[in-house]
């Protein structure tokens, strides 16, 4: 009942964001190794290896195709990891939210801060991939920098559903279901590795309801310096997921903590 009232986050969100930035700064070494290591492996291993067989895909070198897809998918997985494992840790075993809720901050502020942090982490992952991709010479122009705010938005979009998961599970094991049933299928089917158009029509329709295909549709032309097709539609889809995700997350976390 009261849990369903509309959220109203304030500046407290930035304080929560700052908390997470401070923790990240302490572990910046391992974090950056991961951020750079993963795209290097994918782009060198998959991109160069497969790329030499494939040549061009979607009117661009395969390495460009893959790098742009990975920027979108990595923004997704980064935010999803943060919104599940890290948020759950702070919410339940570590009881960090309980401590924060004894101050003037509310669930609304905490989750807005967490979502912003997911966005920032997704942005960081995009920077890493972009740097690696540029060094490999597959980024077409400075326009590619526009992918950074898009990566931030992708982070927000996937943070909500991940936090929703955190608010309903009883332990970490359940996150495997989310990963196997939601995130991994999206990763494989949403046009990161090959164009969606090669799939059966039904699958294409399903994939187009899911956010990752829209994320890819925004990022890829920016990296390859091609014309964006229906950018407002794609941004709108990501925004709708963000808003609904945030709202549901706030309602469910209130239910879990304010009892």
């Amino acid at each position: 009942m009261n849990d369903w009232r509309l959220p109203s986050a304030g500046l407290g969100a930035l304080v929560v964001l700052r908390r997470n930035v401070l923790v990240w700064r302490k572990l910046i070494g391992p974090a950056l190794v991961f951020n750079f290591g993963e795209p290097i492996l994918y782009l060198l291993g998959l991109g160069l290896g497969l790329g030499s067989f494939i040549g061009n895909m979607g009117e661009m070198p395969y390495l460009t195709f893959l790098a742009s897809g990975l920027i979108a998918s990595s923004a997704m997985t980064t935010a999803s990891f943060e919104g599940t494992y890290s948020v759950f840790t702070r919410m339940i075993p570590q009881r960090t939210y309980e401590a924060i809720l004894a101050t003037p901050l509310e669930v609304d502020d905490i989750l807005a801060g967490e979502m912003l942090w997911c966005g920032v982490k997704s942005l960081i992952s995009a920077v890493a991939i972009l740097v690696v991709a540029s060094l490999l010479g597959v980024v077409a122009s400075w326009n590619a920098l526009w992918t950074l705010p898009i990566a931030f938005l992708i982070g927000l979009c996937f943070a909500g559903p991940a936090i929703v998961m955190s608010s309903i599970v009883s332990n970490y094991d359940f996150f495997s279901f989310y990963s196997v049933l939601v995130i991994t299928p999206m990763f494989i089917l949403s046009g990161v590795f090959y164009p969606i158009e090669t799939m059966p029509t039904l699958l294409q329709t399903i994939v187009q309801v899911l956010p990752l295909s829209h994320a890819v549709a925004l990022v890829r032309p920016l990296v390859a310096n091609q014309v964006l097709i229906q950018p407002l539609l794609h941004v709108a889809v990501l925004l709708v997921y963000t808003v609904i995700g945030y709202y549901l997350a706030v309602v469910l976390v209130r239910r879990r903590l304010i009892v």
Binding site: L22, T103, V259
Partner: protein, 310 residues
């Protein structure tokens, strides 16, 4: 004119006032229609066995648990983030931020209250001294002992210079030295005019600290008053404890002028005139006994019964 009247009302009106406060989880009534008012500058205690509803009551004061029914005001206002701005909280279980050091925990908490950095660092130095943690300022919280964690939690609760501090079992599980240190800090706070709300299972703690207290059980308030008044109202002035295994030869009905309660390992004899009983026991060979004034524990046991909880 209006400013001075509002000042008068705010300094004399109760800090917390609850009427018909109720909390139901599903079919379980955990707090059952309780009334209490907590005056400014006093230490107010909630005593009760495990599961009595103490923590739930405190969570309602914080807005961490919506009440099922009743009226509740803090500083004359309904519970909200604004009332939390003026409160400090020491939860039953420590929830320090394990990703940060002692001083960072305090800095972080100050930021949640939006206390400016410079002001915060002045307060932090003072609080580190107050809780004797200055040496440990750069320690990670996991490396602290239980007593240090508790003191840090108390320091954290004071970062916003609260008018009202809520402490849920502040000394449970701590050694006597730490317990005494915490009691003395709490006394200092009350001397400065801070209102304290405290739950505890230690009767000694309640007797030393609380100006007023309620004894709760099964979500209800069984009685309310000062420790002295409660003792006077519910039990005889003196108690003689007899070790059960030494009491074999005694005929309980022959003990003069007393009410006997069997606690298993001891017999408690409550009386207003201990002298005849002491005489009687001294004449009974092998009986080991102890004579003491009645305390809150006797009130507690009398009111809440002797059977185990949970």
């Amino acid at each position: 004119m209006s400013a001075s009247t509002s000042h008068i009302t705010s300094s004399t009106s109760p800090v917390v006032s609850a009427k018909g406060l109720r909390k139901v989880f599903g079919t379980l009534t955990v707090v059952d229609d309780i009334d209490f008012t907590i005056p400014r500058g006093k230490c107010f205690g909630f005593l009760g066995p495990n599961g009595a509803g103490k923590t739930t009551t405190l969570r309602m004061l914080l807005g961490l648990s919506p009440m099922t029914a009743g009226e509740l005001t803090i500083f004359g206002q309904p519970v909200s983030p604004k009332t939390r701005e003026r409160m400090g909280v020491v939860p039953q279980l420590d929830n320090l931020d394990p990703d940060f050091s002692v001083i960072e925990n305090l800095e972080l908490y100050a930021s949640y209250f939006r206390i400016p950095r410079v002001e915060a660092s002045v307060r932090i130095e003072r609080l580190l001294r107050f809780t004797a943690l200055s040496e440990k300022r750069y320690a990670k919280t996991e490396t602290l002992s239980g007593g240090m964690k508790r003191r840090l939690t108390i320091a954290r609760a004071l970062i916003n210079e609260p008018e009202l501090v809520v402490l849920d079992e502040p000394t449970t599980g701590l050694d006597p030295q730490v317990r005494h240190a915490i009691w003395s800090r709490l006394n200092d706070l009350r001397a400065q005019g801070t209102t304290l709300i405290l739950t505890t299972h230690y009767m000694e703690e309640a007797e030393r600290l609380c100006d007023e207290l309620v004894i709760m059980d099964h979500g209800r308030i069984l009685d309310h008053g000062t420790p002295r008044a409660l003792i006077k109202r519910h039990v005889e002035a003196e108690v003689i404890e007899i070790r059960s295994e030494t009491a074999k030869g005694l005929v309980l009905e022959d003990l003069p002028e007393c009410r006997v309660e069997d606690l298993g390992t001891s017999l408690y004899c409550y009386t207003h005139h201990a002298a005849p009983l002491i005489q009687h026991l001294q004449d009974s060979p092998g009986v080991v006994f102890m004579h003491r004034p009645a305390g809150l524990e006797d009130v507690f046991l009398t009111l809440t019964g002797r059977e185990l909880r949970d």
